[in-house]
C-alpha cells in the first residue's frame, strides 16, 4: 500500500516537472524583452505588406519585428486581455478618442520623435499635453456619388437631399448598409460635428443638459433617416459588400461611405467617375475627416523595447523605405509634412484635398462612450428601419442611450 503511494506520487511529480521542463525548454528560445519589436494592430488590410515591411526593417537595421495576427472583430478584446495581463505588444494601434483615453495609462510619451511637429494640426493624439498617438492616415466619409448620375452641386441642403431621394427613379438612391458603423455611427456623426462646439455639445448631451431633438441639425438628420426609410432599399437588408457592389455596378447612384471602400471597387470594372460630397445637414459643406487609428507604444514594455518601437516609428515616418510603404503599399493619405501620395483614387483625393483646405468637420463619434455603437445605437436604428417609429422618436431613443451610457 505504502509502496504504491510512493510510486504514484513520484510519477505525478515526474509528470508535472516534465511538463514544466517542456515549458522551460521553450522559454530559452523566446525570452521576454529580447530586443524584439512586437506589433499588434487592427488594420488587417495592410497585414501582408506590414509583414514584408518587418522583413525589410530587419534587413536594414538588424532589429527583429514581429507582427501579431488578429481579426478586425476580436482585436480590441485581445488587446485588452494582453495589456491587462502584461503580455501586450510593444507597439499597438487604437482609435484616438474614447479608446485611447481608456488606455491612457498604457500609452508612452512620444513627444520626442523628430517628426511629431510635422504632423498635421490636431492629428496627433495628445493626452495631458503629451503626444501619445501617431496617426496612420486620415479617413473621410460622406456621400460617395456617381458623377454620371448625380450633380452634387445641387445637393447643398437637407431639403435638396430629401427631394433628390424622393425624385430619383431608382429605389436605390442612397445606400446605407447593415453593419453598425455604416448603419448609424457615420451618418449620426454629421449632426454632432456641425454644432458650434462639437465636444462641448456632446458633453451636454451626455450630461442630459440638452436634448438632441432641440437641435436643428438633429431634426434634419431625423428627416433624412425617414426619407431613406421611405425611398431607399432597407439598409438592414443590405450588407457592406452588396452596398459597394450596387454602387460599383451603377445600380445605386449614391452611398454613404468613405475612402476605405475604394478597395472594394478594385475588383469591379467601374466605368464612371465618382467623388465624395458632404452630408448637407444645416447646409454643411465639409467632409467628416479624421484619424481612424494611430500607433501607440506600450509603457509596460521594457525601456529598451520602448526605445526600439520609437526607433521603428521614426524610421517608418522619415526613411525613404518607410515612407514608400506608407504611401505606395498601404495607400495612406499623407498626415506628416514631407510625404506625398500621387496615386490617390478620386475618393481618397477628395479626402486629401479636404484636409489640405481645412474643409473638414471632426469625428465626434470617436469620443462617444466606448462600445455604444454596437451595443445600443445599432439595435435602436435597426428597430427604426423595421418599424414605423418616427425620426424624432429615433433621435430621442438615441439620446437616451447616450445619457445611459455616460
Amino acid at each position: 500500500m505504502k509502496k504504491n503511494k510512493v510510486i504514484a506520487l513520484t510519477l505525478i511529480a515526474t509528470m508535472i516537472t516534465g511538463l514544466c521542463l517542456t515549458g522551460c525548454g521553450a522559454k530559452g528560445a523566446a525570452a521576454k524583452g529580447g530586443g524584439k519589436i512586437t506589433i499588434f494592430q487592427s488594420k488587417t488590410e495592410i497585414m501582408t505588406d506590414l509583414n514584408q515591411l518587418a522583413k525589410d526593417y530587419q534587413a536594414e537595421t538588424g532589429v527583429e519585428v514581429e507582427v501579431w495576427e488578429t481579426t478586425g472583430d476580436s482585436y480590441y478584446s485581445d488587446l485588452k486581455t494582453g495589456l491587462s495581463t502584461q503580455a501586450g505588444a510593444t507597439l499597438f494601434s487604437l482609435q484616438p478618442g474614447a479608446e485611447s483615453r481608456e488606455m491612457a495609462d498604457y500609452l508612452a510619451d512620444l513627444s520626442d520623435l523628430s517628426f511629431v511637429k510635422k504632423i498635421g494640426s490636431g492629428m496627433a493624439d495628445e493626452i495631458d499635453g503629451k503626444v501619445v498617438g501617431i496617426p496612420y492616415t486620415v479617413e473621410g466619409f460622406g456621400l460617395v456619388y456617381n458623377k454620371d448620375k448625380v450633380d452634387a452641386s445641387k445637393i447643398t441642403t437637407t431639403a435638396d437631399l430629401i427631394s433628390y431621394l424622393e425624385s430619383s427613379d431608382a429605389e436605390n438612391a442612397l445606400g446605407l448598409s447593415q453593419e453598425d458603423y455604416f448603419l448609424i455611427a457615420h451618418i449620426l456623426n454629421a449632426p454632432f460635428a456641425v454644432q458650434q462646439d462639437p465636444d462641448g455639445y456632446l458633453q451636454s448631451v451626455l450630461n442630459g443638459e440638452v436634448r438632441m431633438n432641440d437641435s436643428k441639425a438633429f431634426q434634419e438628420f431625423a428627416q433624412i433617416m425617414e426619407a431613406i426609410r421611405a425611398n431607399c432599399k432597407n439598409p438592414v437588408d443590405i450588407t457592406y459588400d452588396n452596398n459597394c457592389g450596387d454602387f460599383a455596378t451603377g445600380k445605386t447612384a449614391m452611398i454613404h461611405q468613405g475612402n476605405w471602400c475604394t478597395g472594394m471597387f478594385a475588383d469591379y470594372d467601374v466605368t464612371f467617375d465618382m467623388s465624395l460630397a458632404p452630408v448637407p445637414v444645416e447646409g454643411n459643406k465639409k467632409l467628416s475627416v479624421s484619424v481612424p487609428i494611430a500607433w501607440y507604444v506600450n509603457t509596460d514594455a521594457s525601456e529598451e523595447d520602448q526605445k526600439l518601437a520609437k526607433d521603428f516609428l521614426e524610421w517608418l515616418y522619415t526613411s525613404e523605405t518607410g515612407k514608400s510603404y506608407m504611401m505606395d503599399k498601404f495607400n495612406f493619405i499623407p498626415v506628416v509634412e514631407g510625404m506625398e501620395n500621387n496615386n490617390l483614387d478620386p475618393i481618397n483625393q477628395a479626402v486629401s484635398e479636404a484636409v489640405i483646405s481645412g474643409n473638414t468637420i471632426p469625428w465626434v463619434m470617436s469620443d462617444w462612450p466606448a462600445g455604444i455603437v454596437t451595443t445600443d445605437l445599432s439595435p435602436i436604428t435597426k428597430e427604426f428601419f423595421t418599424t414605423d417609429m418616427t425620426g424624432a422618436e429615433l433621435v430621442d431613443k438615441l439620446n437616451d442611450a447616450f445619457v445611459a451610457a455616460k
Binding site: 500500500m1 504514484a8 437588408d237 466606448a370 439595435p379 451610457a405
Partner: protein
C-alpha cells in the same frame, strides 16, 4: 473491485491537478472579480462593491430578456438537434448502400468551424430569402431565432450523430436477433429495444447539446448580431459586450456567474432525469 488509494491517486490526480489549474482556479478568480467594479485594465483600480453587481443583474431588463430568449432557443434546439441526430444515426447504421457517403456528408457541417459559416448562412437567410420574397428573416424577432435554431441544428446534428452511432453499435447483436426471432417489427425494435439501450447516449447527447446551445456565441454574432431593439441577443453575446465593448468587467463577470448557475441547474435536472431512466431500464 478493490482499488488501492495509491492507484486511485495515480490515475486521477494528474488530470485533476491540471484541470484545477486551467479551469477551476481562473473560474474562482472570475467569481472574485464579480464583487468589484472594474474596467478590466490591470493599471486601473478595482473598487469592491459587494453584491451590488448581482443586484443590478436582476434589474437589467435587457439581460433578463436575453435569458428568456436563450432558454427558449435552447429548449427547441436541443429537441431538433437530437431528433435529427438520432434519425441520422439510425439511417447511417442501416445497410443502405449510401450509408458511408451519408455519414461523411452529414458530419461535414460540424467539421467547419468558425464565423464564416454564420456569414454564409446570413446570405441565405437574407439575400436568398429576399430574392424569393420570403423577406429578411434576420430582422424579424421570431424568424431570426428560427434561423439560429436552423443553423445550430445543422451544425450540431452531425456532432451528436457520432455519439449515437457509438451507442447503437454497442448494442449487442444477439439482443436484436432475439427481438427479431420474437417477431418484433422495426418500430417495436426501435422503441422497445434500441432506445432503452441508448439511454446513456441520450444522457450524453442531451447534455452536450444543452451546454452548446446555451453558450451559443459564434452563430449569434455572425448571423444576427444584437438585432433590432436587442431582439436577437443571447446570453453569451450580452456578457461579451458587457465585458469587452462596455468595459464593465466586474458586472459582466457577475452576469456570467448567474448564467453559469442557470445552466448548471437546468443541465443537472436533465442529467438526473435521464440517469434515473438509465437505471430503471
Amino acid at each position: 473491485m478493490k482499488i488501492g488509494k495509491g492507484w486511485y491517486a495515480l490515475f486521477t490526480a494528474p488530470l485533476m491537478i491540471i484541470f484545477m489549474i486551467v479551469v477551476v482556479i481562473p473560474f474562482v478568480i472570475g467569481i472574485g472579480y464579480s464583487f468589484f467594479e472594474w474596467d478590466g485594465l490591470a493599471k486601473h483600480a478595482a473598487t469592491f462593491v459587494g453584491f451590488s453587481n448581482y443586484i443590478d443583474v436582476f434589474k437589467d431588463q435587457q439581460f433578463l430578456n436575453a435569458t428568456v430568449r436563450t432558454t427558449i432557443f435552447t429548449l427547441i434546439s436541443v429537441v431538433t438537434v437530437n431528433l435529427l441526430g438520432i434519425i441520422f444515426a439510425l439511417i447511417v447504421t442501416t445497410k443502405l448502400r449510401v450509408r458511408n457517403v451519408a455519414r461523411t456528408m452529414l458530419f461535414m457541417p460540424y467539421l467547419i468551424g468558425g464565423l464564416i459559416l454564420g456569414y454564409i448562412w446570413k446570405s441565405v437567410f437574407q439575400e436568398f430569402f429576399l430574392s424569393i420574397e420570403w423577406g429578411n428573416w434576420l430582422t424579424d424577432p421570431v424568424k431570426s431565432i428560427i434561423a439560429m435554431i436552423v443553423v445550430t441544428t445543422w451544425q450540431l446534428a452531425g456532432y451528436v450523430m457520432i455519439v449515437y452511432i457509438t451507442g447503437i453499435m454497442a448494442i449487442p447483436a444477439d439482443v436484436l436477433e432475439a427481438a427479431q426471432v420474437d417477431g418484433a417489427n422495426y418500430m417495436q425494435t426501435l422503441f422497445k429495444v434500441k432506445f432503452p439501450m441508448l439511454m446513456p447516449s441520450f444522457t450524453i447527447c442531451l447534455f452536450l447539446s444543452l451546454s452548446n446551445c446555451f453558450k451559443i456565441y459564434d452563430v449569434n454574432i455572425s448571423l444576427t448580431g444584437v438585432g433590432p431593439n436587442y431582439q436577437s441577443e443571447m446570453f453569451s453575446l450580452n456578457i461579451y459586450n458587457e465585458i469587452f465593448s462596455l468595459s464593465n468587467f466586474g458586472y459582466g463577470q457577475a452576469k456570467a456567474i448567474i448564467f453559469f448557475l442557470i445552466i448548471a441547474v437546468i443541465t443537472l435536472i436533465q442529467v438526473s432525469i435521464t440517469k434515473k431512466r438509465e437505471v430503471a431500464l
